[in-house]
């Protein structure tokens, strides 16, 4: 039990990851998938930042005091850029959702799949029709 308390951050990060992962693979609504992806991403960010934390450390901005302990700056750099890249890819996702809605009138992925199948069948029938 003390182990869970000591490694609390890692356990909760994994719970967050599970929630985000479930939203991405199980939910049909595309906006919800994007929010799930966001939660998934944030759980990974949280894992990296938790790894970089040192007990009794401060933010890695040098104070000039030789005795001060700084948390590891490397994960901070990696995650800083990952957040901005994350929002850029999220924007591409939302843009695709808008175009999917314009083309099919729905953003539920099972309905879109059904419409794509129906469209395909109709096309095949139309193409085969005049020839036969």
């Amino acid at each position: 039990m003390s182990d869970i308390a000591a490694q609390w951050n890692y356990y909760v990060v994994i719970v967050l990851m599970m929630l985000g992962f479930y939203a991405v693979i199980a939910r049909g609504n595309m906006v919800k998938k994007m929010v799930g992806l966001n939660i998934f991403q944030t759980s990974v960010f949280m894992l990296y930042i938790s790894v970089g934390k040192i007990d009794g450390g401060t933010a890695p901005i040098l104070t000039g005091d030789a005795a001060s302990v700084y948390s590891n700056p490397l994960p901070h750099v990696l995650i800083l850029t990952a957040i901005v890249v994350g929002v850029a890819t999220t924007a591409v996702g939302y843009a695709l959702i808008i175009r999917i809605h314009e083309a099919y009138g729905t953003i539920e992925d099972d309905e879109v799949a059904a419409l794509v199948d129906a469209d395909q069948e109709a096309r095949e029938r139309a193409d085969a029709g005049p020839a036969s």
Partner: protein, 171 residues
């Protein structure tokens, strides 16, 4: 929202303040939290506020889309160009020590240029994304109008020629 004097006046005070704060975050990033990524997003937030309060149309007049395209490219070019400069000075790509004789001044200069490139790109990208998303409805209407016009033209051409017009030939 354009008609509410409180929001208009508050926005007029806030927008330049936000832009100034973005510049502070940009150039104080060496000494405190901040840097190009944060500054770019904050600068974009000022223009988003302008668009929300005064309307997208006004915001696009103040900050035309071509500024965004120039800013996006110029930022990446500035970043890459700094690397080329250090190569021309005889060092490796993005090795700032070659930029100046004093090593710390050289690093400061290199970091300043690179961070400014990042800030420029991020600010322009965020504004461009907002304009693209918020302007989509207008864009669809414009496309629909053009399509209707094209169809009408095609119909007229068909009537003139007495032959069935095909969509591709009409334009």
């Amino acid at each position: 929202m354009q008609d509410d004097p409180v929001i208009r006046v508050v926005a007029k005070v806030l927008i330049p303040t936000i832009m100034l704060f973005a510049l502070y975050v940009q150039f104080h990033g060496d000494y405190g939290p901040g840097g190009g990524f944060q500054a770019g997003v904050i600068f974009a937030a000022a223009l988003v506020l302008h668009a929300v309060v005064f309307g997208l149309h006004r915001a696009r007049q103040v900050w035309p889309m071509r500024y965004n395209l120039m800013g996006v490219s110029a930022g990446v070019l500035l970043y890459g160009g700094t690397g080329v400069w250090s190569m021309l000075a005889g060092a490796n790509y993005l090795d700032y020590f070659a930029l100046k004789a004093d090593p710390k001044a050289a690093q400061h200069l290199g970091i300043l240029l690179v961070e400014f490139g990042v800030g420029l790109t991020v600010a322009s990208v965020m504004v461009a994304l907002f304009f693209a998303f918020a302007g989509r409805l207008t864009h669809i209407r414009l496309v629909a109008k053009t399509a209707a016009h094209e169809t009408a033209e095609a119909g007229k051409a068909a009537a003139d020629n007495g032959a069935p017009a095909r969509d591709g030939d009409a334009g």
